[in-house]
Symmetry: C2
Subunit: 136 residues, 2 copies
């Protein structure tokens, strides 16, 4: 890793154009961190589902098709850690635990929605491009 950004002011007037991650803010650092955080297999899905309102563990388990118990637990813990949802445990028997988006989490859901919508709307178009490429 020797050719990262060059913060040396003396090199400011070097020949070749600078090497920022153009077009993305923060040199792409924000999206890098965020993808590491919610770019896994289930996070976005869980966030989307919780957008409809708080749910308990079992209900989430039913609504995320294909997720394992282990991954649901892990995903929820991570999202809780990041402040995107809250976990509320009720001291009953049998135990009941409810998960709910925080304002921050809901904000993220709203922001992601635009992108998800685009993805859904252009799925066919991308799929078509794939087939064209494969039969080139």
């Amino acid at each position: 890793m020797f050719a990262s950004q060059n913060p040396d002011p003396r090199m400011a007037a070097a020949r070749t154009p600078p090497h920022p991650c153009a077009s993305w803010p923060d040199n792409g650092q924000g999206i890098r961190d965020t993808l590491d955080r919610v770019g896994d297999k289930w996070s976005i899905l869980v966030i989307g589902i919780l957008g409809a309102g708080p749910l308990r563990f079992g209900a989430l388990y039913d609504q995320v098709p294909g997720i394992s118990q282990r991954m649901l637990t892990r995903t929820l813990r991570h999202l809780e850690r990041d402040g995107l949802l809250t976990r509320t445990s009720y001291p009953e028997v049998p135990p009941r635990v409810e998960y709910e988006l925080t304002p921050l989490g809901d904000q993220m859901r709203e922001t992601a929605y635009t992108f998800v919508r685009w993805a859904t709307d252009h799925n066919d178009e991308i799929e078509a491009a794939r087939h064209r490429y494969d039969n080139r």
Copy 2:
């Protein structure tokens, strides 16, 4: 694929919603596919950088901090396959290859920008939540 959109008016009054991925369109299928496609470590970064204009292989390699040659090639191939960018090879010596976003790719970049912007703007907030969680 049996649970796509159902425009049939006779099904309008069906029973309670079984297991829909509420809050996301297409039962989350679009975002599932899209994350499988551009949710890897580099795709979004490359798309963002190419938003500033076409670049050749070496320039991209310089501008994506930390990427390996292998992964840059793979990422570019995948994005080309999905119709998000074009690859133009000029028959010169030494070889010159330019990559440029397609209209579809640029549309995706624009759509993603909102989300990336949010991610960048709230990075600190999330980082703080993490720290709070770890010291709970």
